[in-house]
Subunit: 206 residues, 2 copies
């Protein structure tokens, strides 16, 4: 694209560095900001800068938090013997929305992915192992996405925990509630048959 | 969404004010910035602020420009008697890309749209009429999108020009080059038949 203004070109370029935002979308967004009052651009820029510069992570679970110990970790009603291992804050928000979980979390900050240059040392795995060694944690629930990267990460952590007195589990995979069997993919349907649960147990979940 | 951090919540909120960016996308973009080096967020914020605060518009055609008279208006090889009326800079860029146009532009900054609260006084229509009154412009080409708002705007400008010695035209609407007739919508196909051009004339265009 051939811009008539270096300022515009630069803003569009920086905007298009965001994932899923192409040059055309970036131009549309930037032109939108130009039509709005200047305060909107100022608020956006300041919000991004503040977040990036002043961001803190909970010292226990590594979730994004404005205080040293996040609300969940600081809550005395939470079950400290149960830790759910997730990739990032979005997973924490999703699980919290279900109101079904009363344990704590451990936010890894990603998955092991040689393709993207993410190794175990880039994640908070060492901190998770340390925490488990202290003995308070009785069960780790792996809740990473079931991709090759997710499975690799689960297995890596599992091996690190060898010899420690902690049980591990992964969240159940199966047909979503309300979904038709005929439209489910074979892997999911196959797993949901292999991992079937006693009918009486399934009644309790409702 | 229930965020664990006010800083994060604020950044996501401001990001989701952009058109087409929902809360979920905004969260994804903001989390991406958190994973990148801080300089990327700084560059983005600064580029947006610079653009918004230092933006200038060409005093002749009102296109976005870093100098008082934009490159196109300042080019002595351009035909100053021909002015193409467009909505915004994206249209200028699209027409310039064709390398088929050697006249000048006039950027309205939008279309008349009572629904969105955009009246004639919000656009650069008065400046276009003034420019035309000076007599240098011989032809105005309306190149707004053929929506109700575009047609209204064309007609409003047309009325303002009453009594002035200037001819007006609109860009041709028809079947796109390479498109199959059977897939064209009826309005476009109908118009392309009504506005057919002599076959010999069509040879010159290639």
């Amino acid at each position: 694209m051939d811009f008539s203004s270096k300022l515009l070109e630069n803003a569009v370029y920086e905007m298009s560095q965001l994932p899923g935002i192409g040059k055309r979308t970036a131009l549309r967004l930037v032109l939108h900001l130009l039509k709005q009052p200047g305060e909107q651009t100022e608020r956006l820029s300041n919000a991004l800068l503040h977040l990036r510069n002043d961001i803190k992570f909970c010292e226990n679970c590594h979730n994004i938090s404005d205080v040293a110990l996040c609300e969940i970790c600081a809550n005395p009603k939470r079950d400290r013997s149960l830790v759910c291992v997730v990739e990032d804050i979005r997973d924490v928000m999703a699980i919290e929305n279900t109101s079904q979980y009363r344990g704590l979390y451990h936010v890894l900050g990603g998955k092991i992915s040689p393709m993207e240059g993410v190794g175990p040392q880039d994640l908070t795995i060492a901190s998770l192992v340390e925490k488990t060694k202290k003995g308070e944690v009785k069960e780790l629930i792996f809740a990473l996405s079931s991709t090759m990267e997710g499975d690799t990460t689960n297995f890596y952590i599992y091996k690190q925990l060898k010899g420690l007195d902690v049980s591990t589990s992964t969240i159940a995979r199966g047909i979503a509630v309300g979904d038709e069997l005929e439209y489910a993919d074979e892997v999911t349907l196959g797993r949901s048959i292999l991992n079937r649960i006693p009918f009486e147990g399934s009644l309790k979940a409702n």
